[in-house]
């Protein structure tokens, strides 16, 4: 049946959204993927590159505007900082587009702006340009924030990629021929590392919003991860990184599998999930691996680099629960999860997002 109307799933970060963006948006923008060295728009990576500059954008519609562990302001800044960082850029400058609802309490705005300032300070970036619109009551729900960001290639990136190339060669693998960290670079033999527990952000919001009674236990994991990425690149030997937002871990691993053309084997028992997140998911019939995070990285390291990279992640304040969770393999395509009870199942990409408006 011909699609007639926009649906929530079209913007939910899963398979539906990928199809929607390709069919409805990219098809109408006559774009030339000029550079084979950089990250072309068609890769739909976390940032695109323009010469030596990475460039990214995220729109934020999270509801409520403030929640345990963060608010729409810290979310916006961290999200954009992380999207730049995971391709190997050093975040430098942000733009801030605010659409505010008439009648919004000014103290809420003040707190959110202070939160933006504090998160920028932590990440060492600046908002350099902005735009403010106010729409009539009901025109948006509280506020919508879009943040875009730019950053030059990090000076540590070339040596990081070059070490990955060396390590792969020592193990009989292919060289790394790339100027940025890219989602299509994972190769069999590479190792998948996760920087901490998954599901915290989405479950925190859901529980706070719906009042399931576990409000105090789970907080959003919102964090700018540029320092962690720098720590990782200093070790080197890494070819791809991703912050696991909409669609969560399940979306991230499937994205790497489909973009690289290789399979991923993930060990469920290694994936950190906090107890209250697990309980909430059990109760609500949700899969913690499909729930969005705002302060978790997935890293693809060349064989032999994983121990040092994990050590660097664990030494960072946001990476204490980091773990090696799987491998890139050539024995299958897609993602297979080795379950805790010893079986194996296909880990599909999420169709839509199980929890709306969490980012």
């Amino acid at each position: 049946m011909k699609k007639e109307f926009i649906e929530l799933g079209d913007g939910a970060g899963g398979e539906l959204m990928q199809a929607f963006i390709k069919e409805r948006i990219l098809s109408r923008l006559r774009r030339k993927d000029r550079s084979t060295e950089g990250i072309p728009p068609s890769l739909l990576d976390d940032s695109a590159t323009v010469g030596e500059m990475a460039f990214t954008v995220d729109g934020h519609t999270v509801w409520p505007l403030e929640f345990p562990g963060g608010d729409i302001g810290s979310l916006s800044v961290a999200g954009t900082v992380n999207d730049l960082s995971v391709v190997g850029a050093r975040p430098e400058a942000l733009s801030l587009s605010l659409v505010l609802e008439e009648g919004l309490n000014i103290e809420v705005l003040d707190r959110i702006m202070s939160s933006i300032g504090a998160t920028c300070e932590e990440a060492g970036v600046e908002v350099v340009t902005g735009d403010t619109k106010v729409v009539e009551n009901g025109g948006v729900k509280g506020m919508v924030i879009s943040t875009s960001g730019i950053g030059r290639k990090h000076p540590l990136l070339p040596s990081c990629l070059s070490r990955a190339s060396d390590l792969r060669s020592e193990n009989g693998g292919p060289k790394v021929d790339a100027a940025w960290l890219r989602a299509d670079l994972p190769r069999p033999g590479d190792v998948i590392i996760l920087s901490g527990s998954v599901g915290d952000h989405g479950i925190s919001l859901l529980s706070f919003r719906e009042g399931y009674g576990f409000e105090t236990e789970v907080r959003s994991d919102i964090a700018p991860l540029n320092q962690m990425m720098e720590d990782i690149m200093k070790v080197g030997g890494v070819v791809a990184a991703k912050d696991l937002t909409r669609g969560g871990l399940a979306n991230g691993v499937n994205e790497w599998s489909s973009k690289s053309g290789f399979g991923l084997m993930i060990r469920e028992e290694e994936i950190p999930v906090k107890e209250p997140v697990r309980s909430a998911c059990d109760m609500l019939g949700l899969d913690p691996f499909e729930i969005g995070n705002e302060g978790k990285l997935m890293i693809c390291a060349a064989p032999g680099a994983q121990e040092e990279v994990l050590k660097a992640i664990r030494a960072n304040r946001y990476g204490r629960d980091g773990a090696v969770i799987g491998d890139v393999v050539s024995t299958h395509t897609g993602v297979i999860l080795e379950t805790e009870v010893g079986g194996k199942r296909i880990m599909d990409p999420p169709h839509g997002d199980p929890i709306p408006r969490i980012c």
Copy 2:
């Protein structure tokens, strides 16, 4: 009285918005204006600069989404292209953040995406990165689009500024010591040029929306003006440019006056206003100089450059009605309008925007 709630005027492009942004937003972002050469965020110019790169953003909430002469898509692209162009950058890459309302007709979205593609094609820019969110019915009105853009300094800019410096020196004026076109550079002796008629965009939208019965006559003037800026810089001798969006001409001239610290003398009879725009304004009690445009430039030329610059503007398809409308003076501060009947009056900056949601 202490401000408690956000008001429409806080985002309307006039005096209220300037105060709101300074008090509520800039004050909470700890920013360092590091470069004295570039365009610091605190100047609140159309773009900021980061090294040799200009960076800007605009959020768009125009209603209805489609109207005579354009739509929210062409508006977004042209707006961002123009903000980059007026500081002397060559627009290169755009980001596109969409917030869509669940239930939006897909054909409307398709047309708007095609319009984005066509406007990018005309302007020679590319959308390289994007983000799509879908919110529940009523969460936004149709859609909100935020576009940010980056562009390197135009190769013609240095010679343009250097010619302005020479021309000023020949006339006993100060040299131009700047690396970009800036709103604080106008000096007494400089000449103000307008690229065409004012008020078309706002009146087109208002009449279409409200059904005043003159729908067919006025169309929005939405246009990417990067080619016109290139034509102007080729002539050279220009120190500032502004696209006259929210707040219209009245906002633009007052911005230059307050940022430069000098007065502007504007001749009303030289300002092109189309007859249906004038009639509509008379009928509705609106000032055409306060109404937003989306395809009109104001240019500040060094003494002696104005005729050639005007010729270049008029040779461009979007500048046929271009006119010299006034001068920068040292005899007063603020903006004085010489009226058509021979009097003089102060041209105040608009307080808010007379027509909501036109951009």
